[in-house]
Symmetry: C4
Subunit: 254 residues, 4 copies
């Protein structure tokens, strides 16, 4: 099979779209924020990526219907002549190996080539290991000019934070975007790193909608967070059972 299977549900015509990424990660901050935006704006799914770099797993909905885990893209057409449209990249998982992470990020950018993305915002959490009352929104960008522009929107650029750089899709998409000459910014909400953090996601979103000139509500975010928290607990229990059984089976592999 292909490493990544790309299924196009629609072929929208987009005007120099802005790409917003929010995949699972620290505190699920990016995923929470991006999915909330998709819901609030009523963005339309137009592309699905399945891949052997994702877990070998189907998810089962409350109605008993299953679907393969994936990464998805939604689009949102903005009203007004000069406005750039928006594309969202979200999904169930990030690639499960370093190689898979590279492949998935690269393929996402490749799939968007024809739409000529004009800017990328990747959203994530910045784990600090302690409870944060007022999360800052930290940033990193692809050029000094963009750093300055973001500072004007309240994004914090703090020397030595994050000291280890950015790991995963939020970093790779920006790093690889240079091959398409697309500028971009990573927005990271401070979070403890211990649980799903809707508060941090909200801080990131408030900065983002101010930059983009969007208007959205936030009431559904808290609900969504509770729902994710519940699912996560269930997942972990079942995954643990599965891992224990797999660990048994595969012990001889070393």
């Amino acid at each position: 099979m292909d490493e990544i299977i790309v299924i196009e549900h629609h072929k929208p015509r987009l005007r120099s779209p802005i790409l917003i990424e929010g995949l699972p990660g620290v505190g699920n901050v990016g995923k929470l924020a991006a999915e909330h935006l998709v819901d609030e704006l009523g963005a339309v799914k137009f592309l699905t990526m399945q891949s052997k770099h994702l877990p070998p797993q189907v998810l089962v909905g409350d109605n008993g219907v299953l679907r393969l885990v994936d990464n998805q893209m939604h689009y949102y057409i903005r009203k007004g002549k000069g406005n750039r449209d928006i594309v969202f990249l979200t999904g169930d998982y990030q690639g499960i190996t370093p190689e898979g992470q590279y492949e998935l990020s690269y393929r996402a950018l490749q799939a968007l080539e024809k739409h000529r993305v004009s800017r990328i915002f990747t959203l994530g959490g910045y784990g600090v290991g302690r409870i944060i009352e007022k999360p800052r929104v930290l940033g990193a960008a692809t050029s000094p000019e963009l750093v300055e522009e973001m500072k004007g929107h309240g994004v914090v650029f703090s020397k030595g934070e994050p000291g280890s750089g950015i790991i995963g899709a939020s970093g790779l998409l920006l790093g690889l975007a240079a091959h398409w000459k697309i500028p971009g910014v990573c927005l990271m909400g401070e979070t403890s790193g211990y649980f799903v953090d809707p508060n941090s996601a909200r801080m990131v979103l408030e900065v983002l909608v101010s930059i983009l000139g969007l208007k959205i509500g936030f009431s559904a975010l808290e609900q969504k967070a509770q729902q994710i928290e519940r699912l996560t607990t269930q997942f972990k229990e079942a995954e643990k059972a599965m891992a224990d059984s797999r660990a048994e089976d595969l012990r001889y592999i070393g």
Copy 2:
């Protein structure tokens, strides 16, 4: 070498066959059930898949003759004009990496393309971490219609079970089958997850034969379970010895 070597022993002509999968997994429920059906129906092996995604291992029979580990397909021609034939997918192991699991499931579906599979049943165990007296048979399906149909056969669809979705071939075959527009169902017998469970396998089989209108005996099932249990124990001991020795050798790899 090819990632997967497909060897066709026969080229049967099959009528819109139903695919039944039972590979090793939790409680070996799926493997037990599917292999029991193969034996009871006298199904004929027609295809072998060898792969570098399976363990690098040969098995030695009681007569001292060895064979490479593999996945196999058997077919069973049903009497009667309107009846659909059956194909079984069984084997020694599932793929040993996530990538390998995708490849093996995809290749199995590809190999059956010309037979135009009409429906898939994947069989597995649902580990609950405690001894179960009367195992339920849980289900998940590719469409709401199929969910309803299965409920009529006593399959339980329970919101939030399995919470983590379905991992491995039983999930992937159904998730990937969408590319061939094949509908399907996963039948999961409740099991502790601590040992090979013929009782759970029997519950799954009773539902399945009722759906398919087959008649089989069950006396050999208990024996088969004991045989698998014995082999598994031997495997694990030797595998452990091997793993220990390999861990030694490869320690510097990290």
Copy 3:
């Protein structure tokens, strides 16, 4: 780079050669036995396989000169009209992943295709977890006829031993040889599994030279064993140091 780089130093003309494999494994029994035969017979190296499936390592000789780790083939031309020549497959390591093990075994058989190998003997250790005074030589073969033939040479075929089958090149070469219709036998010397075991290697060799009608001395074997023991200790110390430092570096990979 190619997955496996095959370098042919000579192009010998061989008469239906017998392939004898002895790579590192339990007790280094196979490696010890095969390398002793190479030395005693003065077999000539004619083929080197380098591969990214082997460790990323060079070995440094006592003279300070380094060489990349590899697998090698030697040949030995037997006198006499009806006699089949011999090819040896030895090396520094086996493949370090399951996939790598498949690739290396398959490629070795492919490289020998033109020589039309007539039979394969793979040599290994059978770890029993306790000190063995008089190691038996256990066997497994590709056909019942070959099992009978080997019994005549004192090879023990014992139901349920090895219960886990044979893992690594000694198994794979025989399992994959079916694609070239080459029959073969695995000879396994009992060994504790705790250290390099020249005594077990000698038992295997005595059976093998009786089968092949060869005459060799054994005095160098004991010396070689002592030398390997010493090297192994040095390796492990250095590897441990390296592993500790790498574990540090790569901790973030998870």
Copy 4:
């Protein structure tokens, strides 16, 4: 995406250049030494290698600007008619799998093919597990002649050191260079292996500049070591946090 993306910033014309490698490793001795030389000589970056065999990570500079982790080559044109120019191979990481290490080393040599490298020096640390006051510079080379030549420059060739050979790029580049018939030497500074070691790097550099007839200062080396030490500590903390969170997420993968 390609396994390795090679970006050529300049196309210098080089005279039989000498390749000097210093990538991260034990005590970061090689990296410290090579990067110090690059800085002292004002060598010019002409080639960048990005790869899915490197961590999926971007680094963030003090100015908030990010860049993808990579391996880099710099060149230095030497004055004087008979002098050979110098190419440096440095970078943020080595390949994170054995396969990745092979691919990156092979690709680096391939990228330099047209420049006809005349000799390779790979620089590294030799971890001895205790604090060293006066680090020796140990060597290994591709031929006995080169061993003799190096002894004349004070390089120590000590039987059984390093007992485990050389793991990683410093070994592979020399082992694979045989395919291009390029001779080479590995220079290893003794180091405890517990921390970044500028003292060991200086010993290696003093030998190297004596061999090459270069003149450089050493004052910046201690500063550079402190800087790397600080970065490494920050990296490790953040990486640990990330690894912990990833371990959580991926627990079910086994």
